[in-house]
Symmetry: C2
Subunit: 407 residues, 2 copies
């Protein structure tokens, strides 16, 4: 069960985007759709960020190649159930076969199709199951299919994660809709996470990539479930321009509104992943402040967020705050002056300038730990930089899910 | 239950070392001894390595100070049940009070006593419970108390971990006995691990520290249970010289024999920690070879050893070897050429030069995964350096132990 998360009751169409999904029997369990096609109207801009894992999957390589070779991306094809990773040259061929079939069926260039896969690593993708259904996928394309697509891209997710927002600019409505999947193997470098965000404002390619990079840093690259980094992650941001609102033609205020819309959509999707993290019973925010640099702050935040002992204490609602000290102290940063550190669990002061707080009682700590939403605040008192990481706890359910994933 | 590990039936006295233990009621459960004193004869050399955690515990600070100020260490005092970490100035005073009482009772210098603590972090150490029992501890000192001491230093350990070895040199018997505790929070930088190794060969202080540093690199700094790093870890190596064999006076061959005895003792103790790791059901060796540098190899070995998804697959005996690729690929090393990597699970080839091995079958993978002792071999094919890490799997029992540790 996700922590304080209810899936959207409906999603808004984004002008210039059509979607379709069907059950192509790629997943082990054949109980729902697992194949999705997204059509992007001509003239749209598409920006992407991908996994940093050296063993990146075949579809990730194909995406990078196609984005480099082609200015206009027209189709995204996404399968769940098989990651097409660790599959060598055969896997590359499979990904290309799928793109070729879609290009052929729709009369577009091969390079304008991007493939995405998520699921088990190390097994060959049965690409023919996808190729056989392309005609049907294209026929079913419809602007109102975001809900079915958000469900079809799921793997171990317990809920679909998607949202829509709108804003009025110069009397026109700009709509953004985003969907994501991913519940484990989530870490800074975009782990087994797929996300697709489309906005009908017009944004030039270079600007779109810049906006995406900034948005990712504060959202998808500020979450951690288990410190593992997938071979397949990708986040795509699409701007169709079909609302008639163009970023280059609006006031600075409206420009910031549009960029803010993209940022908040990415943050809410990233938080949704943590709320639905494998086995999660807590939603935990680690805030590090007064650090010398943002990366210094983030190293400490991640050291706490990744610690199995912190995460099991969170699962047990045990105010065993010594584990927080341990996790701060083991962070790979230089010259950490523990005598300056103050530490809070929610509103409860644990440590002041490196000394245990006189005001702390076990009852106060327990009251904070009993909450579903927990914030840890770490003040280093040495600078002005800060960082945050959202994370979940480590439960029996996490072990169960990951010990049984393939069965 | 430890994996393929039976505790030693007996331990040999080391000339120049006497020990005593008793139940001082420091632990939550009062069902066994939790306080130990080790007496070291005059003229012995003592070398140590300590945690790298910035929030190191009060006793670690006191150890470092005393080792710097005093040439001859005469007493080590060890309590289980409370780590005296995160306890600020009050914790420093507690550690000093204990040392002062022992110095007073034995007529030695304050600086010749080293304190060690292990257990819960963030609670003040009831030092008076220790001070009150010092007289009794000193009275009980005996060369034959290694077994009781090895049990008294345990926390969540399910078995005592200790061993003795002997070697004949120039007609004299050199004896080494070592004991260690630690089952969770075990990581490269010496986590919640205490180890005491004594040999009755004579070895000068500087040489002893050099031997210890080398031995640690291949043993205690090559293991990982959960990637957490404790505030309290310490490994002490004592050379009493009372066997009459001195490292400076023997042949190069005998010198290597003595150093080898220390190395193999450290390796066996470190492996015992992994065999008794919290919730462990597997003993796993990660070998990385043909790497550009040893540290490059070790980063990759640790990336695999630390991965929760690899560890849950090991727990499930699931040959989901894609997770191994993922874990290799996410290692924080530069210019990893995956097209050169070959990978074996036991004797079974999974990947050859970055391509899935044609010879692999699920049955072969399953047969390897069903074993209690599993070896993963990763050949990078780019250099001549290598590294190993020993690790355990991630089980339900790990979560249970760490969610319940204080109760």
């Amino acid at each position: 069960m996700p922590v304080n998360y209810s899936p959207a009751a409906s999603l808004l169409p984004v002008k210039g985007i059509r979607l379709s999904s069907l059950d192509a029997n790629i997943r082990y369990k054949h109980d729902r759709d697992d194949l999705t096609l997204i059509e992007i109207s001509e003239g749209s801009s598409v920006a992407g960020v991908f996994t940093q894992n050296a063993f990146c999957a075949a579809p990730v390589k194909v995406c990078r190649d196609h984005l480099q070779q082609e200015d206009y991306i027209r189709y995204l094809v996404i399968n769940a159930g098989n990651a097409n990773a660790g599959t060598g040259e055969e896997g590359m061929t499979s990904a290309q076969m799928i793109c070729a079939e879609i290009a052929d069926e729709t009369g577009t260039a091969l390079n304008s199709v991007l493939p995405f896969s998520t699921g088990v690593i190390g097994e060959q993708l049965p690409y023919w199951k996808i190729v056989d259904r392309v005609e049907e996928l294209v026929e079913k394309l419809d602007a109102h299919n975001w809900m079915t697509a958000a469900k079809a891209i799921m793997t171990t997710d317990t809920t679909m994660k998607a949202l829509s927002k709108t804003v009025e600019i110069d009397g026109k409505t700009v709509t953004i809709t985003g969907m994501t999947k991913g519940a484990g193997m989530i870490e800074p470098n975009m782990a087994t996470m797929l996300a697709y965000v489309a906005i009908d404002a017009g944004i030039e390619q270079d600007m779109l990539q810049t906006i995406l990079n900034q948005a990712v840093s504060a959202s998808f690259n500020s979450i951690s479930v288990d410190s593992d980094t997938s071979t397949n992650d990708a986040l795509m941001l699409i701007a169709t321009g079909q609302s008639g609102v163009n970023l280059n033609e609006v006031s600075d205020l409206d420009k910031n509104t549009i960029i803010g819309l993209i940022h908040s959509t990415c943050i809410e999707l990233a938080q949704a992943i943590i709320r639905d993290a494998e086995g999660a019973t807590k939603f935990v925010t680690i805030n590090v402040e007064a650090a010398p640099t943002p990366s210094y702050a983030k190293e400490i935040a991640y050291s706490v967020a990744r610690s199995p002992l912190v995460k099991t204490a969170l699962f047990a609602s045990d105010p065993n705050w010594g584990r927080l000290l341990m996790a701060v102290g083991k962070a790979p940063v230089k010259d950490l002056d523990v005598s300056k550190i103050s530490l809070w669990l929610g509103e409860t002061l644990l440590l002041e300038n490196g000394q245990p707080a006189d005001s702390y009682t076990e009852e106060l700590g327990q009251a904070e730990m009993d909450k579903e939403e927990i914030t840890v605040r770490i003040n280093l008192n040495v600078g002005e930089a800060k960082a945050h990481v959202w994370t979940s706890d480590l439960s029996h359910e996490y072990v169960t899910i990951n010990a049984d994933y393939r069965s």
